[in-house]
């Protein structure tokens, strides 16, 4: 039963990932990515990581992809255009994918000759408590450093996005829209 489910969600994930590349419209690609995220969550659940599965749906499918869709809607992005560059990408891209997949497979097989079989029992081992102890005790420093890194990235994005001289700050508050009388 677990094996059947694994294959069902694995095939859905791979099919959605291929569809993501094949679709010409960005919103369809974004939706395919959501399907990939959701089926990955199902795979996590099969491996017993219930908390990770829920977080995968809440954070990736529910928050990050909403922002992707939001940006696509805001930019009103149209269909992908074919340029001379895209032909070059096609010529080089397919062989590159094969080479990359080969390298990854080779590395996995040589460096890990006796892979541990994945536990598909559906028994839940990755409880919130276990994950919290890993993050907030064993790996506290890397976790905090990562959060500082993300904070720096956010600040950089804000600085880059605001045009010089008009950065909204305490000095130049944004004006509320003017009220119309009558």
């Amino acid at each position: 039963m677990q094996l059947v489910l694994f294959f069902v969600f694995g095939i859905i994930a791979v099919a959605a990932a291929i569809n993501l590349l094949a679709q010409r419209h960005p919103i369809n690609s974004a939706l395919s990515l959501i399907v990939v995220m959701a089926s990955l969550a199902a795979l996590f659940l099969l491996m017993g990581a219930e908390f990770l599965a829920a977080i995968q749906v809440i954070v990736y499918a529910g928050a990050i992809m909403v922002l992707f869709v939001f940006v696509i809607m805001l930019l009103n992005a149209g269909e992908e255009e074919r340029t001379p560059g895209s032909r070059v990408a096609k010529r080089l891209g397919y062989p590159a994918v094969v080479v990359l997949a080969g390298v990854v497979a080779w590395t996995l097989l040589t460096h890990n000759p006796h892979p541990v079989p994945v536990n598909l029992s559906g028994r839940f081992v990755g409880s919130p408590t276990a994950i919290a102890q890993l993050i907030f005790r064993d790996f506290l420093l890397p976790f905090e450093v990562t959060s500082v890194l993300i904070l720096i990235a956010i600040m950089g994005a804000v600085v880059l996005a605001s045009p010089v001289g008009t950065a909204a700050g305490p000095g130049s508050p944004e004006q509320p829209p003017a009220k119309r009388e009558g």
Binding site: A54, V57, I58, A61, G62, V66, V69, F70, M73, S127
Partner: protein
């Protein structure tokens, strides 16, 4: 329990839950029209049946019989998928809401919910966080400026308020130490002092409760945060281009989401199905469900009351309120609660 019994019991529970939910949705619309009518010194529906009680049936019939129009300028696959997505997610979330204790019916011992999950609350939040797609995609695929603006507003608003909503629940989770809704409710049985029940709202989570309430209004796109469908500026927002049953599906989703949000508030802050239980055995079995229903009803009533009372926020006010007021307050609540819990240990 054998597999066959499990499947049969589950199917029966699913059918009952969906029927009850849809009936509750239908009568929430009646209640809303009736109450807002009385608030505005009108009668509300009163022609169809006694007190207009058959109005939801008439509405449903009208929606089904209306011409199902698909405007020529829409992006059809997503235009058709959006209402289905909204409604199915809204109906799915009820599967995780426990409405009472375990019961024994005909020798089968079963919890009064469709499924009892370890991380029920997280899954509920996950489903809620996905429901923004229905609205956003409806707005985008309609290919009309009003719909697009409505969809954009909805996605920005729901993502922003989800943070305050999630953080407001953290205090309760710290206190109960579980993500299982049933365990959270079980923690709230009994009394604090005298007759005051041991509900989380009386155990210091009162700020969290009001943060949750405000964020929940925004999550379900209700007045005073119904910017995505502000009639006075956006015609009808994201569902401007929808008609007949597809339009109705958005409304059913909205009311089902209201009921889910009210159920979560009841379970986490108001002690779930706990309440005075007395009388013969059949009353003892029924009273918890009655208390649960009464608390959810009180929330729906509050929703409608607020709708009839408050004006709509301006969009920048909405964002400022969410990010500059609710979010820091929720954060402070998490800090104070965790400090107190840590000191008590």
């Amino acid at each position: 329990m054998t597999v066959t019994t499990f499947v049969v019991v589950s199917v029966i529970k699913i059918v009952i839950a969906i029927m009850v939910l849809l009936a509750a949705v239908a009568y929430s619309t009646w209640l809303e029209r009736k109450l807002v009518g009385h608030i505005q010194n009108r009668w509300g529906p009163k022609r169809v049946g006694p007190f207009g009680l058959l109005q939801p049936l008439a509405d449903g019939l009208k929606f089904i019989l209306k011409e199902d129009l698909v405007p020529p300028h829409v992006y059809k696959p997503l235009y058709l998928a959006a209402p289905v997505l909204s409604l199915s997610l809204a109906l799915t979330s009820i599967a995780l809401v426990p409405i009472g204790n375990w019961v024994a019916v005909g020798g089968v011992y079963t919890p009064l919910e469709i499924t009892d999950v370890n991380i029920g609350l997280l899954i509920l939040l996950g489903i809620t966080s996905l429901s923004v797609y229905g609205v956003a995609l409806a707005g985008w695929s309609s290919n009309s400026k009003y719909s697009l603006l409505g969809g954009l507003r909805a996605s920005a608003q729901m993502v922003s308020y989800e943070i305050a909503l999630g953080l407001s629940l953290v205090g309760v989770l710290i206190m109960s130490g579980s993500l299982n809704l049933r365990e959270i409710v079980d923690m709230q049985g009994g009394h604090l002092v005298g007759w005051i029940p041991r509900w989380n709202i009386f155990r210091g989570q009162i700020f969290a409760f009001f943060i949750y309430l405000a964020a929940a209004f925004a999550e379900t796109n209700r007045v005073p945060f119904d910017l995505p469908e502000a009639e006075s500026e956006l015609v009808a927002g994201y569902h401007t281009e929808y008609s007949s049953m597809k339009f109705a599906m958005f409304f059913m989703a909205e009311y089902a989401n209201m009921i889910t949000v009210a159920s979560i508030a009841t379970l986490l802050f108001l002690g779930g199905w706990h309440g005075p239980v007395f009388g013969p055995w059949w009353l003892v079995d029924i009273l918890p469900i009655f208390w649960f229903g009464l608390k959810v009803f009180a929330f729906i009533f509050l929703y409608i009351w607020v709708r009839g009372t408050l004006p709509r926020f301006r969009y920048d006010q909405l964002m400022a309120f969410g990010w500059k007021f609710l979010f820091p307050l929720a954060m402070a609540n998490v800090l104070v609660t965790s400090l107190i819990v840590a000191l008590q240990k």
